[in-house]
C-alpha cells in the first residue's frame, strides 16, 4: 500500500499549485488562513521529499522533440530491476513504469526525430540483454496532458 505522507493542508496547497505552479505563497496563505511562512515551509518539504515538483511542462511535439513513442518491454523477470536501472540512465526515456498485462515495463521515449528513435531502439535498447520483446506505438498526437490528478476531498 502506498504511504500517504500528506495531510489536508498539504493537499490544499498541492491542489492550488497544480492549477498554477506560480501562485504566490502569500495568496495561498490568505486563501487557507495561514501564515506565509507556513506555506513556504510546507512547500519546501513537499519538494524535498519529492512528493511535489513544480515544473514548466511543455508539449514535446511543439518544442522540437518531434518523436514521442510509448514502448512496452517484456524482460526476463529476474532481471527486471537491472533493466530498470539501465533504462533510468537514458535521457531519452522520460517515463518508466512496471506494469501488469501485455508488457512488464512501459516507457515513454521522447526524441527529436524518427531517426533518433530508430537509433534508440536498435542501438541503445539492444545493449540491454534481458529485453526479450518490445512493442512500439508512435505517438501521432497528444490529445490530453493533465497533471492535476485528483486530490479530491
Amino acid at each position: 500500500m502506498p504511504r500517504i505522507e500528506i495531510d489536508d493542508i498539504d493537499r490544499k496547497i498541492i491542489q492550488l499549485l497544480q492549477d498554477d505552479g506560480r501562485l504566490p505563497f502569500l495568496t495561498i496563505a490568505n486563501q487557507l488562513g495561514l501564515a506565509e511562512g507556513t506555506i513556504r515551509r510546507r512547500v519546501a518539504r513537499l519538494l524535498d521529499e519529492r512528493i511535489l515538483e513544480i515544473v514548466g511542462v511543455t508539449d514535446p511535439l511543439k518544442v522540437g522533440m518531434h518523436t514521442v513513442a510509448i514502448v512496452g518491454l517484456n524482460v526476463e523477470r529476474r532481471r527486471l530491476e537491472d533493466t530498470i536501472e539501465r533504462l533510468k540512465q537514458m535521457p531519452e526515456v522520460r517515463y518508466i513504469a512496471v506494469a501488469t498485462g501485455m508488457y512488464d515495463i512501459i516507457t515513454e521515449i521522447v526524441v527529436p526525430s524518427n531517426d533518433a528513435l530508430l537509433e534508440f531502439l536498435i542501438t541503445k535498447l539492444n545493449e540491454i540483454p534481458w529485453i526479450m520483446n518490445t512493442g512500439t506505438s508512435l505517438v501521432l498526437k497528444i490529445a490530453k496532458q493533465d497533471f492535476a490528478w485528483g486530490l479530491e476531498s
Partner: protein, 163 residues
C-alpha cells in the same frame, strides 16, 4: 507559434524550477521583467507551456495508475478522442500507430474506479472496439524535462544557442 531563442532559454529554466524568479531571468538575459512575463504568458496561451505542480500519484494516495490501450474504428477516432478527453480520470491521452490506435493513462483513487472506467465509461463509447489494460505497479521515472535543449538530444544545433 514559432519559438525563438529567448523562449527556449525561458522554457529551459522553467522546466527545472517552475517558480524561478522572473527578475532573475530578466537580469540573466538582459531583458525587462515585463518581457519575460509576456513571453511566458504567450507560451502558456499557445499551450506550449504549463507551469504546474506535479505529484507522484502513489505518494498522495492515488492507488491506481493504469495504461489502457484501445482499438478504435477509424472513422470514429475523433469522436472517441473527444469523449475520452472529457473523462477526468484520464490524464494523458495519445493517438498512436501500432497495434492500438489510442493509449490512455488513468490515475484513480482505487480499483473500483478503474472497473467503473473500463466497464461503464469506455465500454459505452461507440467506436471503441477493444481495450487492453496494464496496471502500473511502480513508477521508476517520471520527468517532464524533455526538451530540445539537452546536448545529447539536440536535433541539430538550432536550439543550441546556450551560453
Amino acid at each position: 507559434m514559432q519559438i525563438d531563442d529567448l523562449d527556449r532559454k525561458i522554457l529551459q529554466h522553467l522546466r527545472d524550477d517552475g517558480r524561478v524568479s522572473y527578475v532573475a531571468l530578466a537580469n540573466k538575459f538582459n531583458v525587462s521583467e515585463g518581457t519575460i512575463r509576456k513571453r511566458v504568458r504567450k507560451l502558456e496561451e499557445n499551450q506550449i507551456l504549463q507551469i504546474v505542480g506535479v505529484t507522484d500519484p502513489f505518494k498522495v494516495g492515488l492507488d491506481t495508475v493504469a495504461f489502457v490501450w484501445l482499438k478504435v474504428e477509424r472513422n470514429k477516432l475523433e469522436s472517441v478522442i473527444n469523449e475520452l478527453k472529457n473523462i477526468e480520470d484520464i490524464r494523458y491521452l495519445v493517438i498512436t500507430t501500432g497495434s492500438y490506435d489510442v493509449v490512455a493513462m488513468a490515475v484513480l483513487p482505487n480499483r473500483e474506479r478503474l472497473v467503473q472506467l473500463l466497464n461503464k465509461k469506455l465500454g459505452q463509447i461507440p467506436g471503441v472496439q477493444s481495450t487492453e489494460t496494464s496496471i502500473v505497479l511502480e513508477i521508476h521515472k517520471q520527468i517532464y524535462h524533455w526538451s530540445p535543449f539537452d546536448q545529447e538530444l539536440n536535433p541539430g544545433g538550432e536550439a543550441n544557442a546556450e551560453d
